[in-house]
Amino acid sequence: MKASTEDLIRARHLAFVGRVTASLSHEIKNTLAIIGESSGLMGDLLDYTAPPAEWAPYPRLKTLLTTIAEQVERSVVIIKRLNRFAHSMDEELVALELNDLLKEITNLAQRFARLREVGLETRLCSESLNMRSDPFRIQQVVFHFIEVSLGFAPKNTTVTVASRRDKGAGQVVITDEAPPRAEWLKKQISPPYPSFAETEEQSDRDLGVLGPTMAKLGGSIEAEDLHPQGNRVTVTFPLEKG
């Protein structure tokens, strides 16, 4: 499919956002490196110069330094995710591995799951699903479906993101334990897409984008009700984007 001028402009907008975000994440990482080294130095100085047995604050300070080190480590993991997400906007057609992308996007969605008190699990197939496609759009589609499932799923249930190969395609299967909503979902993602003006609900607006996005990716979406309760959305991405 030949890209329109509008598509090309949008791609460059995204690449700009990605480049700036990646640069900022790099800066934050440098700052974290200084915080990490400074707390490390404080720990070293305590060990090398303080008499631990006689100095009452020593154990408390060591505990606090450990907390700083752990939080720096956690922040670095988050910044790396942000950096990779930002780089997903660099190009519209790249070589990627679908399972890697699904790990990234479910990690990004874990916070939303925690806030909803819903579990979010992956069951990814063991074989590599190598493809040439648009990583940002794939993440956008999968993230929105995860978000919808999290929004409808009862507390203390689990949303599952699974993957599998289906002939010349990679499939992502998102399952939840919410009341069936296949018909509603089909309406949201099929033409005529709900206009942004017609709805105020965030997830509806996002779902309205998914139909055209999937058309760009050359894939398909299938929504099914599960009995007695639950939903399964299967998103199929061709391994080679046209």
């Binding site: 790099h26 440098n30 990490g36 080294e37 400074s38 950096n83 780089h87």
Partner: protein, 125 residues
Amino acid sequence: MEKFAVLLVDDKEEFVSVLSERLRLYGMEVDTATKGEDALAMLGEKMADVVVLDVIMPGMGGLEILSRIKKVYPHVQVILLTGHASTKEGIEGMRLGAFDYLMKPVDIEELIAKMRASIKAIAKE
């Protein structure tokens, strides 16, 4: 612990200051530079066993400094530090002769282990 002569090169002064102090506490002899040109001049005056070099620096970048070091002082080991999630620069650096690379923030024990391994490797040559 064996004592290494280390040249630490990074444009972030606070980082250089703190990491060099830590390495000294671990028994290293450490010099520092915040510019590539200064690092090359310092090597001309005083040899280091290992250069720990940031990849992304204003002016002369880490990979260019690495190339120049390896051209003039092939026996000096270089360990790269990169702040990017990508390993691209690190891999390119190893192609140019770096011993290894580490992602920032570095784990001091890991850095010292890499330094020790790099010195062992050069001794075997």
